[in-house]
């Protein structure tokens, strides 16, 4: 630290200088407790809430009429429901990567964004979970073939089916993400309990904090279990999108039956997720003036992860094309050729533009250190990753082995209302979260304050 040479190479700090434990506490808890909610918050939540209402309408009509209101039919039996499911569940993955994998890798910069990203994970998985639930149009009948419970028919789920693996993977993922999030929140809820003035707020935060008092005996077990949870979440997050990719890869449809799917899907998930973290972080840090905590260095690092995972995804696209050619299988070859030149070619090339070409701008430091540049790239990637799932699902199904059974897919207004409605649900839930819970981990941020350093551990 005192080495002047080291100072010249020093990276920008993770929080702006001048902050103390007290000021960090006040600033982050102030967002929740001050009662000064920015006008933009009301604007965003009202739009989100309206879209959520639209989702309610679309789902209600679905339950009344059945899946006939959607654009799915033979040969495209899987439409928006699976596309949106994969898109949302992928977005969730960045949160777990930030909270678990970056913790194990001792990346200090995760501290400013992990709470935020974990919240994003939970709400994205909720949006994702909605689709498998409603995609039969008769969710009340879905229970017996999704969950193993003794029923009067004596029927049990088919555990050899990747769709059942999906049920277990996604519900485990949601539960563990929620646990991880809640455990991380306990000390901060205690801070809110101690700082809240309103008796109702004191009671609510107090009940949720479970009586946490910051005892060293508690901290020891807390840190122990937090590390174990990170260790458990790391293989879990990799398994979830692997299992999602099995939904496709276990089948025999050209375009789906590919061994590269698991790693390619996991990379795509993290890619989409980091783009979504950037999409949320850039406006919200501005809205609440949190530039001191979510600094340019954080944004730049996220830009770098986006670039790297984007390159892995690009490698996946190239491999798919290579497999199509090298397999010397006419169906595989046709599938790739049809993707690039068939009726859905504009979608394919837009996807290549969004997911491979645009992120290359992140090689330039000027783009990585410009909020506007990063936000633009992130939005393009969000669109691109949705298109990727559209292309994988639709182009593989619409022209398979028999030309007599070829067809086209046209999503209906109800498909769009459901999809856009889940975006509204996500935004509403996320903004409610930042209003009522600390969006940055206060107790972990305190360790970043200069006075929090122990003399004995300095120089580590």
């Amino acid at each position: 630290m005192l080495n002047p040479k080291a100072a010249t190479y020093a990276r920008p700090p993770l929080i702006e200088p001048g902050h103390t434990m007290g000021s960090i506490t006040d600033k982050i808890s102030g967002v929740v407790l001050s009662g000064r909610t920015p006008l933009t918050w009301f604007l965003v939540v009202s739009i989100g809430f309206m879209l959520m209402g639209m989702l309610g309408m679309a789902v209600m009509w679905l339950l009344i009429k059945g899946t006939g209101i959607w654009g799915i039919n033979q040969p495209i039996g899987w439409g928006f429901a699976i596309i949106n499911f994969v898109w949302w569940i992928g977005i969730g993955h960045a949160g777990t990567l930030i909270s678990a994998i970056l913790l194990l890798l001792k990346q200090g910069w995760r501290t400013s964004i992990n709470r935020f990203a974990e919240g994003m994970t939970i709400f994205a998985v909720m949006c994702a979970g909605l689709f498998p639930l409603i995609h039969t149009g008769r969710p009340w009948l879905a229970a017996y073939w999704l969950f193993p419970y003794p029923n009067s028919m004596g029927v049990w789920p088919q555990f050899r089916s990747p769709l059942i693996w999906d049920v277990f993977a996604v519900s485990t993922y949601f539960t563990v993400s929620l646990l991880f999030w809640y455990v991380g929140l306990i000390p901060d809820l205690a801070t809110l309990r101690d700082k809240a003035k309103h008796p109702a707020a004191k009671l609510a935060y107090g009940a949720l904090a479970l009586g946490w008092r910051g005892s060293a005996r508690h901290w020891q077990r807390y840190e122990h279990v937090y590390l174990l949870l990170a260790g458990l979440s790391t293989p879990l997050v990799l398994s979830v999108h692997t299992v999602v990719s099995f939904d496709f890869a276990i089948s025999i449809i050209p375009g789906w039956h590919a061994t590269i799917f698991p790693p390619y899907f996991v990379a795509g998930a993290i890619y989409a997720g980091f783009a979504m973290v950037l999409t949320l972080a850039i406006p919200i840090r501005k809205m609440y003036g949190l530039e001191d905590f979510i600094t340019m260095r954080h944004l730049e690092n996220m830009g770098k992860v986006t670039l790297v995972t984007g390159m892995i995804v690009g490698y996946g696209y190239i491999s798919e094309a290579f497999f199509g050619w090298y397999s010397a299988n006419q169906y595989e070859g046709f599938m790739i050729w049809n993707r690039m030149t068939g009726p859905y070619a504009p979608y394919y090339w837009t996807l290549i533009f969004c997911n491979i070409i645009t992120p290359q701008s992140l090689w330039f430091k000027r783009v990585r250190t410009s909020t506007l540049g990063l936000f633009a790239v992130a939005m393009v990637v969000n669109v691109g990753m949705w298109l990727e799932r559209f292309v994988i699902v639709i182009t593989s199904l619409h022209r398979d082995f028999l030309p007599s059974s070829w067809g086209m897919y046209y999503p209906t207004i109800w498909d769009w209302m459901t999809f856009i409605g889940t975006i509204g649900m996500f935004v509403t839930l996320f903004f409610l979260f930042i209003r009522f819970l600390p969006m940055i981990s206060i107790f972990e941020m305190r360790t970043m304050a200069p006075e929090a350093k122990l003399r004995e551990t300095e120089g580590h």
Partner: protein, 183 residues
């Protein structure tokens, strides 16, 4: 505090306040060295040195998580084997009924689920939470423990505890304030 002096009997302990983690850790070390065992420190963030100083070392959670994981693994596998071999045998494409490689994903997910649940519930219960009331909250200054101050508690239940001597001892540790904790 006035009340505590009026009723001399029955305080929960003495609590010393410190301004920074270094003073807390060295005070905790001295208190432990002086023979006090029913002591605890309170800090707004985890300090490894603080729990080492008071001799806190509980590794049971590792075993609890392992046990949870094993229960998840065995019950997941047993469920699937039972369903496909005994309860509802279905011949799918001539594949064997005991097609165990196909049972790995669900077994894996249940292993993680049970391990994580065991870990979190174990941590909460071992810590004695939820605990709506605790005497330390009677100290008015204690609300700073979740903000930027550090506290050291010596419980009256400690055999070495003596109201005056312990107070004098804590006074010598650079504490910025010492409070009696009402039960």
């Amino acid at each position: 505090m006035a009340r505590a002096t009026v009723q001399p009997a029955g305080i929960y302990g003495l609590m010393a306040e410190f301004d920074n983690p270094n003073e807390l850790v060295s005070a905790a070390k001295s208190t432990y060295a002086a023979g006090y065992r029913k002591i605890d420190t309170f800090s707004p963030y985890p300090i490894e040195e603080a729990w080492e100083a008071i001799g806190q070392k509980d590794r049971r959670l590792s075993l609890i998580v392992l046990a949870g994981g094993l229960v998840g693994l065995l019950s997941g596998l047993a469920l699937q084997e039972w369903v496909h071999n005994l309860a509802y045998p279905l011949n799918i494409g001539g594949k064997p009924l005991n097609s165990w490689p196909m049972f790995i994903p669900v077994t894996f997910e249940l292993t993680i689920l049970f391990a994580a649940l065991a870990g979190v519930i174990g941590m909460i219960l071992l810590n004695g939470l939820p605990m709506p009331y605790h005497p330390v909250f009677n100290v008015a200054r204690f609300e700073h423990a979740s903000r930027d101050k550090f506290f050291l508690l010596v419980e009256a239940a400690d055999p070495k505890f003596d109201r005056q001597q312990t107070r004098d001892f804590l006074n010598g540790l650079n504490a910025s304030e010492i409070n009696e904790v009402e039960p």
